[in-house]
């Protein structure tokens, strides 16, 4: 075990830190600490500018292979970048769906033509992607999607409805799971299509969420089209491609998220010191427990990063379950520490009709953490079946 950074890693960190200090200023100052989960629809246009500035300096997609425009840095450097980015207050990455989901999918499953057409826009920060997976009747049971695509005159014609699509109003493209063979069994007959968002036949309806914001949207496809060759992998083999996408996440961003949580934790400690809760032995227990949990989140991620990708340890299987539950419990603790004050939203004069504090947003939004991207229940099934080898439920 060696928990120290190498000389190369230290100088990489210095480079990242210096660049951010120099560039995340001026008109971008207002973005600091904003645009994360629960806040993804904040100042999108400015964040798109920022995304292009990042791209021009070569900071998008640093882990990608060089031939696809990346820097091919090792995983630990990606971690260091993400940590520095959070430390500097870097805003939620508007291009993250392209960089972490669609890009790796195309690199792995896409044709050379697809790679040439779509990857540069992600790398230079000019094009934004969104994800079209969930549907009203395909949540935990994702394979139950009903959106269809039919090939007509060299184009896929799409009908159906997607839901929980972040950034839909701003995205240039969407990767959409569609049923392309209705006669096939559930997991078969699905194709993975790349669809331009700015066309007739697509209607976007924002979903107002518990915080009053509208990070997510419903996307209705009513005869929207995409070219025949915009299918990733083979036709009717989209399920395998989609599952591949989910496997690309290997913990580099978990550490950045852990650091984001650390910032929220620091806010709670500051509040406790201000209002006297820090002297209360019962709350001290809970604050210490949260701190230990946060530390373990980091250690788990470091373990995940330290194993070869071929032998992903069991500690990777529960990362989502762990952080989402930690964050849910933490939100509750934050409110308890604030006491009566926990109710007070931001004053109406300066802010909108319903503008919450950072900790209130965190408290509320954390309730979705245990639901999206695989509910707690689904996560426990996966851990039980894949990591422990317990038998599946009879279907």
């Amino acid at each position: 075990m060696d928990l120290e950074l190498t000389q190369e890693q230290l100088s990489f960190r210095a480079e990242v830190r210096a660049w951010l200090a120099e560039n995340l200023t001026g008109r971008f100052e207002s973005l600091k600490g904003r645009g994360g989960p629960g806040d993804e629809h904040y100042a999108v246009d400015l964040r798109m500018d920022w995304n292009r500035v990042m791209g021009a300096a070569g900071w998008n997609c640093i882990g990608w292979p060089k031939q696809h425009g990346g820097r091919a840095v090792p995983l630990m450097e990606e971690v260091i970048f993400n940590e520095e980015y959070v430390r500097a207050g870097g805003p939620g990455r508007i291009g993250h769906i392209g960089e972490t989901l669609l890009g790796p999918t195309l690199i792995h499953f896409g044709s050379a033509a697809q790679q040439q057409k779509y990857l540069p826009g992600i790398v230079d920060g000019s094009e934004i992607w969104c994800q079209g997976y969930s549907e009203p009747n395909a949540g935990s049971d994702l394979a139950n999607i009903q959106t269809t695509a039919e090939l007509k005159d060299g184009k896929w014609v799409i009908h159906g409805q997607k839901i929980w699509t972040s950034l839909a109003p701003w995205a240039d493209y969407c990767f959409v799971l569609c049923r392309t063979d209705k006669s096939a069994q559930k997991h078969k007959g699905i194709s993975y299509l790349l669809v331009p968002m700015r066309q007739p036949g697509i209607t976007i309806v924002p979903i107002e969420q518990i915080t009053g914001g509208s990070e997510f949207a419903e996307v209705f496809f009513d005869g929207a089209t995409t070219d025949e060759d915009n299918v990733v992998g083979a036709v009717n083999d989209g399920w395998r491609v989609a599952m591949g996408t989910l496997a690309f996440e290997r913990g580099a961003s978990t550490l950045a998220q852990q650091q984001q949580f650390q910032k929220e934790f620091d806010l709670v400690v500051a509040a406790a010191k201000r209002n006297g809760a820090s002297k209360d032995p019962v709350l001290r227990q809970r604050i210490a427990d949260a701190w230990i949990g946060l530390k373990i989140m980091r250690l788990n991620a470091l373990r995940t990063l330290s194993v070869d990708s071929t032998e992903l340890g069991r500690e990777a299987s529960f990362a989502k379950l762990y952080w989402s539950n930690w964050h849910r419990d933490f939100g509750e603790l934050a409110m308890e520490v604030l006491g009566a004050e926990s109710e007070l939203a931001l004053p109406p004069a300066e802010h909108g009709p319903y503008e919450l504090t950072t900790l209130q947003k965190s408290f509320l939004f954390a309730r979705s953490d245990t639901i999206y991207a695989g509910t707690n229940q689904i996560q426990r099934n996966i851990i039980g079946e894949r990591a422990l080898g317990l038998p599946r439920e009879p279907r």
């Binding site: 518990i210 939203a345 309730r367």
Partner: protein
């Protein structure tokens, strides 16, 4: 020995459920919570006029219906169940109770008939904005009442006052002289008293309004002070009665969360079967049921103790023992019901999945209400510590 609701109480519950199902729908709540007043005055007028609820526990001598705190219980459960936006909790559980506990006959005569008639709303404020987070009751009071020949001068702040920006009658707790006097006084004053500034405070839970009150040398007559019971003791009894009422509300709201979750789990299909057929969802619902019914036991018992105490007080034979019983029952109920409601509201979102955290679905109203009810009148932790003290823990040395 009988521990169940009477026919009359069940009838009151049915009446309330019928009315609120029609007049406190999701659309009503959404509309009311976006106004600064926080409720629909027309609906409130009907509540008072047609149903007489504001006068339910006001004795007939003061033109009320003369029922007891126990009869309030099913009504409050239903209000919680429907997230009813109205100044009922503030006016009845805080305001009217304060007058009943601490008012002189003249003071009761002056205000209770108007409350019973629905013409006057009322509330109670006690917490100073600068009070430590964990202070509660008298120890959270920072307002000071200086005694003059002709009356009192009130200076300082009171915050977190339920419906404090709109209540017609404010009752506030203040240290007489200063805090070191150890003498707490309760004072009743009209909402539009000169020198008083009221500020509406936007809250995370938009279904219950809070306000802050700034007293800038407010002059009150001698008879503004409620002298029917010593102020510190009175504040404790009033807050216990309010906590019992809040607990009843929490029970009804928690049950609404359970019911929503169960209904959804029966119809929502994933993997070709209703999600309620999966053990994970089924067991979440089972645990919610357990908490709802345990909360009901705790709150209903506390309501019974509250009813006995009020009866004893009317009969002029209120004992220390009864006050202690109320404290124990109220703190137990508030602690348990706060946690139970919060648990159910959170789990209801979990069972609903994605739609559970949309604004469109009512689940978020309950979740926010659960959080605000938990913070109101002292946290569960505060109330458990109080129970520990009442059990004599820590007294031994």
């Amino acid at each position: 020995m009988e521990f169940r609701f009477t026919e009359d109480q069940n009838e009151l519950r049915s009446q309330a459920r019928r009315f609120l199902a029609a007049e406190s729908t999701a659309a009503h709540v959404d509309k009311a919570m976006k106004t600064e007043l926080g409720y629909d005055p027309d609906v409130w007028a009907r509540v008072a006029g047609e149903l007489g609820w504001p006068g339910l526990v006001i004795p007939e001598a003061y033109e009320g219906i003369g029922l007891g705190q126990l009869d309030l219980h099913p009504l409050l459960e239903e209000m919680g169940r429907h997230v009813f936006c109205a100044p009922f909790f503030s006016t009845v559980c805080l305001g009217a109770n304060a007058l009943l506990v601490a008012g002189t006959t003249a003071q009761k005569q002056a205000h209770l008939p108007a409350i019973a008639a629905g013409e006057l709303t009322a509330t109670l404020g006690y917490r100073g904005p600068s009070a430590p987070a964990l202070a509660e009751g008298a120890s959270a009071v920072t307002l000071v009442a200086e005694e003059r020949a002709a009356g009192f001068t009130l200076t300082g702040d009171v915050s977190y006052v339920v419906d404090g920006h709109s209540a017609g009658l404010l009752i506030v707790a203040a240290w007489v002289g200063d805090e070191s006097s150890g003498e707490l006084g309760l004072f009743a004053l009209p909402g539009d008293t000169a020198g008083l500034t009221r500020t509406y405070l936007p809250t995370m839970d938009q279904t219950r309004r809070l306000a802050s009150l700034r007293f800038d040398g407010v002059q009150l007559d001698k008879d503004a002070r409620l002298t029917g019971m010593e102020g510190g003791r009175a504040l404790s009894v009033i807050l216990d009665l309010a906590a019992v009422g809040l607990a009843a509300e929490q029970v009804g709201a928690a049950e609404a969360c359970l019911d929503m979750a169960v209904e959804y789990a029966k119809v929502r299909q994933q993997f070709g079967r209703p999600i309620g057929s999966f053990q994970s969802i089924k067991h979440i619902c089972a645990d919610m049921l357990l908490k709802v019914e345990c909360a009901r036991s705790a709150a209903f018992y506390a309501s019974a103790v509250a009813a006995q105490l009020m009866a004893d007080m009317e009969g002029g034979k209120l004992t220390e023992q009864k006050g202690r019983e109320l404290a124990e029952a109220a703190s137990s109920a508030k602690a348990y019901c706060s946690d139970a409601f919060f648990h159910c509201a959170g789990q209801s979102i979990q069972v609903h999945g994605g739609i559970g955290f949309t604004w469109e679905h009512a689940a978020h109203l309950y979740f926010k209400r659960a959080q605000s009810s938990r913070a109101l009148l002292g946290s569960a932790q505060h109330h458990r510590e109080r129970v520990a003290t009442l059990l004599g823990l820590g007294d031994e040395a």
